[in-house]
């Protein structure tokens, strides 16, 4: 990486400060907080939830989420978990991921084993993550691409009916929005 950067700088294609700026941008916005805000709002506001499921790209803009740390805003689709369906997201070809909502993907998301096995044997792989999906629930695996990025809307845990939106936001972890975990009540 050092040799590559030195050559590109010498050729005047970019400066090291440009690279520093990109890294800083991702470092500041690297977390899954935006995704958690979207999920918590959807739990608290049925009309928002309906709009989110109909047109997620447009609807997350209501929370001021305009694009990822790279400035891009891919088409976003939100898939909702229910008692009948559990959703899980992968990018089988590389590492496509909803940056604007979840930051950069964790290492396991980019691993060849996850990319191939979650498609072939999702129930087993989810068990390895510590998530046992009931046999009567269908598991849907969504393959991210350049065109579409997916976010899972997890089920609101029971026992949280007296919690407000900021409190709920704090409960929602990245793994639940990829679909390899569920949100747990505190």
């Amino acid at each position: 990486a050092e040799a590559l950067e030195a050559l590109l700088v010498e050729q005047g294609l970019l400066t090291s400060a440009d690279v520093d700026a990109v890294i800083a941008r991702f470092a500041e916005r690297v977390g899954p907080l935006n995704g958690a805000r979207v999920v918590a709002r959807a739990w608290c506001d049925d009309a928002f939830r309906a709009r989110l499921l109909a047109d997620a790209t447009e609807t997350v803009g209501e929370l001021g989420i305009k694009g990822g740390p790279g400035g891009e805003m891919e088409k976003l689709v939100v898939v909702e978990n229910s008692d009948a369906v559990h959703n899980v997201v992968v990018c089988t070809l590389c590492s496509c991921y909803p940056w604007a909502l979840l930051g950069l993907p964790p290492r396991w998301y980019k691993d060849p084993a996850y990319r191939s096995r979650i498609v072939r044997e999702p129930r087993k792989v989810l068990t390895e993550f510590g998530l046992d999906v009931a046999a009567d629930r269908e598991i849907r695996v969504w393959d991210s691409s350049a065109e579409v990025r997916y976010l899972v809307l997890p089920q609101r845990p029971t026992g949280t009916s007296d919690m407000d939106e900021p409190e709920l936001t704090a409960l929602i972890e990245r793994e639940a929005m990829i679909g390899v975990a569920e949100v747990k009540a505190p």
């Binding site: 040799a3 590559l4 590109l8 520093d20 890294i23 991702f26 690297v30 993907p105 396991w108 060849p112």
Partner: protein, 118 residues
Amino acid sequence: MSDPISVLGSGPARAHVPLENGEVVFEAPWEARVFGLAHALCDAGLFQWEDVREALIAEIGRWDATHGGQPESAPAYHYFERFQCALEALLAARGMTARSALEARARSLAARPHGHDH
């Protein structure tokens, strides 16, 4: 194949771990540099992120085709090594940075005395 490491990658055992929020996404500074380089080149208008993505798919596809069938004997998979190879291939294809120049530069950097940048 019941070993969770097979899902979570090589490296230390992280059995049944949904990893924590706020996990460090770059394991070494060079990973952040190469990732930052790709974005900076896009910001500069030299290519689109889609070009990077296609180069990455091609590079990862080559790795999967070579090693994907034998996960036990495959070398450890490092995403950012694939990322760097993909970026180098893209730059070479666009005539921006020849591999020969890159290799020569890497050799001269490697030949510096130890501790030069500390």
